[in-house]
Amino acid sequence: MLRFLLRRLLVALLVALAVSSISFSLAYLSGDPAIAIAGSGGSAQDAELVRQLYGFDRPIFVQYADWIFQALQGNLGTSYYFSMPVSQIIGERIPVTLILGTASFAVALLVALPLGILAALKPNGLLDRIALLIAVSGQAVPSFWLGLILIVIFGVWLNLVPISGADSWSGFILPVVVLSYYALPALMRLMRASMIDVLQANYVRTARSKGLGMPTVILRHALRNAVLPLVSVAAVQLGILLSGSIVIESVFALNGLGRLAWESLLRSDLAVVQGIILILSLVYVMLTTLADLINAWLDPRIREA
């Protein structure tokens, strides 16, 4: 188990390193980050000034090493727009994204798991059909558009919830509904498919041959095995919810990380964008690592792999 843990952490570290280099090199996509920051209206002197101020004149590896070294100490550079440390700005915005992402994830899981299991127990039954309908429509509707439509219906016409901002908890209702509806189909379909697979497994037949009742067979023998493939997908989904809320945050005018990233991009505030991408990627890496650990806990075969 310890060896598994160490190996998994080493991989996570390598991925984190790769991800950080990608987010760092994003700044060079435009060719010269200095010109990007100085803006298209800026003169050559402006660009030169920016170059010196931000150290863009140093060799790229030195810049990267410096950036990583600083990042390890919690310093992600300075936003040129806010003239504040990036980490501080991100710190202020993180709670909204975190609440939104985790709440949507929880709602999605709470609906998807029972629905997927019940649908699997009677494939092609009525419940399965309903579940499929929910899944198919959830995959087709663009979440930003659904957000706007819900704002019109519940915020404007019915006037039930605030249409923007997160001043109170009720401001989170619509965004959470939209985001969880977005995450629901993948989780539910996987739960269903996996459960159907497991119910056909030989060991489920063995369990039934022992005279156990169906609830015991499903809860003790089937569920644990059926959840295995779901764990890693759920981790990826949570990651998507945390980073994908960028569209939803802008629709509902929530001051989260996604909206900050978007605005910073429009302002060419590169340090902030790099910082956010790095943070979100690291969260991703952490989540997938966590998923592997949960799987190892659930499945003894993985522990010794």
Partner: protein
Amino acid sequence: MNLAPANDPILEIRHVSRTYKFNGGLMKPAHSVKALQDVSISIERGQTLGLVGESGCGKSTLASIMLGLNKPDSGEVLVDGKPVLSLGPLQRSQLIQPVFQDPYSSLNPAFSVYDTLMQPLRIHRSEAQDRPRRIMDMLDKVGFPRQLANARPGELSGGQCQRVAIARALILNPPLLICDEPTSALDVSVQAQVINLLLDLKREFGLSMVFISHNLAVVEHLADKVCVMYRGQIAEEASREALFANPQHAYTKELLSATLLPV
């Protein structure tokens, strides 16, 4: 039974050893498994060698090495007097061909029977006009109905699949066939048909054969010479009569006594 001159080996395995090393990637302790230890066998032209052993005894590794698909750590394999590793894949495949155990997984489900037999001819750039005739002739020889030539493996029975697999192996006219448990996955009534087919083909083409099996009774029926493998080594090598009449090695005796017969 055959007219080929004696003592002219078609296949010689000389002191072959193979160890699998698992360095297991990051942070996993390396360990190794000795799959084969100093194995030497020779097969005369026209002879059938029975290779007997249980799962994990190294017989499949040996089959791969004979086919040149796996390299031994030491020792060498000579086919028709030439080291198998010195031959190019095309030359090698004209000398030695395999027939595998699982009739379904040994045929590509994406190909029809006809296409399956076409692949070796394409790879070997045989005369294009001759190909359809060669394929149909071969189907006749293995007793596969021509009208099913366009069927896919999923539509065939296990016995039919195994006939196609044998046809594919023989279409390049190799003198040597490696049969890796070709009847183990079949029903006994189908097993009898495949055994009969192999016997017929052996006579007709003067084939030499390595017949790998865990079933001693089948080996007794087909083989001229038998090697019993145990934990990567040759436990006993003897003519068929000698082995069944007077087994020497303890493992051979155990295997013989464990074999269940319908009497």
